[in-house]
Symmetry: C2
Subunit: 431 residues, 2 copies
């Protein structure tokens, strides 16, 4: 048998703490002390100290960091070793000697351009490993939440011909003899699918040609979107509370080690249980004016205002009832108060801000066409979307959740780039 096939995960070796074991992995740290070489070996599960006799394995001393190897020996409890256990190596059966590794992890500044240039290697760092594990848990929890509540997972197209969010940030694709666009949101397609499946969700990439480099924008991001038939704004907002609450709970359950490694304080996460803090747009304007923002009713609530609001409350905020002109045409106006829409955003605490945008959609065909015209758009461009209202339309509501932003907040990252394995923005498209 190939030597590395009998290896056990390093976390398992640390748990056992005695007996013979084979481990495999990458050299994470190295130090020589008299007759012994101490190698810290990492794998996907942890880090263990290998104690290697120099005389028997002279090559150990000259191994570069990130070299890979398979070692067999005896596990011994040693309080001074990381994880409290070390492996006294008896044989090394497989080695791939690496060139001198170009990254000094201890000195690295995580959002530097250099680390983005060598992102394919920086993924090996313990920090990225921890973030990627949290990310894995977040995505799994989103799927579980929707599936357990009777939503069907669907797969809307990436190539589209009509804009949901407005034309300015559309990417153009050369599509044989014509031009198409990349999807910004699957919402219109989810709306078509509720007439068949009633409750649908998708977790898929969306694309926005964002010309600015901010800490919370990328040109491609993962979007969890859902839509429910026979539902209203409050129904959708409650799903938003619940899915975030469920995700956070799962991460707190499964990823304590990773949160600790990242230095993430978990108090704000522990408080993120439904119900969130419901705040109307009107109330938000009041709160912000008291805090010194020169705002009038009707003004947009931008990134700075969002930040100020989230610092005012210790839970995520459901900010609802935006004025008509601040939200896209498809939002249903409140029949009791037509100047505002049945729309909401969810804002994450600690300054993180918007993670969900959603609301109730116009379901009446005539009302939709009138609003399209009122917004200066052409109903011809939305023919099939209007069509959905011509045959047995129903009240419905939904939202889109920026999953990378959710991971960013949960991990306590400073920049959205830090939580995406290969981030893309206006300047960066490689590796």
């Amino acid at each position: 048998m190939l030597p590395y096939k009998s290896a056990i995960p390093i976390a398992e070796a640390l748990r056992r703490g005695e007996g013979k074991a084979t481990v495999r992995g990458w050299v994470y740290r190295k130090r020589t002390l008299k007759e012994k070489v101490f190698l810290l070996l990492r794998d996907a599960t942890g880090v263990i100290q290998l104690v290697v006799p120099r005389a028997k394995f002279p090559e150990a001393e000259s191994l570069n960091l990130e070299s890979s190897l398979v070692a067999t020996g005896v596990l011994v409890r040693e309080p001074r070793a990381p994880g409290g256990v070390e492996l006294h190596v008896e044989s090394i059966d497989w080695v791939y000697v690496g060139e001198p590794y170009p990254i000094n992890e201890d000195a690295a500044v995580s959002d530097s351009e250099y680390l983005l240039d060598v992102r394919h290697l920086w993924l090996r760092s313990r920090k990225m490993q921890a973030i990627l594990k949290i990310r894995h848990t977040v995505f799994g929890a989103i799927h579980d939440y929707f599936r357990r509540r009777g939503f069907y997972e669907v797969h809307p197209p990436m190539f589209i011909t009509a804009a949901v969010e407005g034309g300015a940030t559309l990417f153009k694709v050369e599509y044989f003899d014509r031009t198409v666009y990349l999807t910004q949101s699957s919402q219109f397609y989810l709306e078509a699918l509720i007439y068949s499946l009633e409750k649908v969700y998708t977790v898929a990439p969306s694309f926005r040609a964002e010309p600015s480099r901010t800490r919370r924008h990328l040109t491609e991001f993962w979007h969890a979107e859902m839509e429910i038939a026979w539902a209203h704004m409050d129904d959708a907002a409650k799903v938003g509370e619940e899915v975030i609450g469920h995700v956070v709970e799962r991460v707190l359950d499964e990823r304590q080690d990773e949160l600790k490694l990242l230095g993430r304080k978990v108090e704000a996460l522990e408080r993120a249980k439904p119900p969130f803090h419901w705040l109307s747009y009107d109330e938000a304007i009041e709160v912000l004016r008291k805090k010194g923002f020169a705002l009038s009713w009707g003004d947009d609530i931008g990134a700075d205002e969002e930040r100020a609001l989230t610092l005012e409350f210790d839970k995520p905020i459901i900010l609802h009832g935006f004025p008509e002109k601040l939200k896209a045409f498809y939002h249903r106006n409140n029949p009791q108060r037509p100047e505002v829409t049945l729309s909401f955003d969810v804002l994450l605490p600690e300054g993180y801000g918007e993670v969900i945008g959603g609301g109730e959609r116009i379901y009446d065909a005539k009302e939709l066409v009138e609003k399209i015209i009122r917004f200066g758009l052409n109903p011809e461009d939305y023919q099939w979307y209007i069509d959905l209202r011509r045959y047995g339309s129903v009240p419905h509501a939904g939202f889109g959740l920026g999953v990378d932003r959710l991971v960013m907040w949960i991990a306590g990252a400073d920049h959205i780039r830090d939580v995406v394995p290969f981030p893309r923005d206006i300047r960066r498209t490689r590796p």
Copy 2:
């Protein structure tokens, strides 16, 4: 309370079979008999017959198909009704009267261009509903398979600058002041991620500018890809057997009604348990020559040959050991027999053919650069991919699975378009 909030799913009403109930949904069929209007009402869960007194609800008779409504009444067992239960309607609380519905479902030919033009409505058909439910189950089972076996879900980029599968089928995107491409496969990125997480998978769109309209090609498709550190061709092929076996078992468990509605015979599905039929390329050439194909060793095994092979065996086939020149440069050559690669395809039975392509990757830096040059490519174009081998490389293997193709086979569909909600090919980019 809004009337439709008290509705129960139609499947639940059919199970109860007695007592008072409110249901909601869309008019699927309509017929008038003397003083009664019989409406078949559909929702996401089933179809129930509503018995509506004409005198009390004169509007019922003129309702167009696909109108939506909410009805309350008494459930009565009636063997002649679909599902064996009907609702004797006492009140209709909510109606959205549709225009005359443009599709006659009974007359519809499923792959007609017209049904593709009105795909946003055709999704309401019972056939599409059944297929979308199977699709939902397939995707869920793929995630479950990988997660339960310790794989981490990762999210490689959609915007790329180097081709995995060759430049001919790359889509170009106008990316601010330059051009980038859409991903054809996440393999290279998964290879980077195994050095951190060891076992990784992704389920994401891939894009290929396929100029031909065939029954198994689309320009965007969902790709389940995985990569494992410290692994070889056989390890990857076994994961392929297992994931397909697991998915099929789940569908047989959860989706019998949908398979029946589609008229899918399930014998071939029931036989799709690991181990599959392992067949070397050399053996395949022999089998095909005996069947009259004029093939020499080294020739490609195209769609016709695949079809013939799959009709020869009653299980999926692991076809392995392709000649070097038939597979991309990154496949590792067999050290015992350098003219063949440690590569494999999985072919689905009943003529469906290739659903997985995978194998062992070259992990030695020098060997990789030599093969890139031997293939007439430029190592400069693969700098970061080669880089992965410069620091502690390990043997590894993986594959890509075309999820839409898997759904197509499981559903017994004639065309891949039939199992995708909004299919895209050279001619079609809307709705």
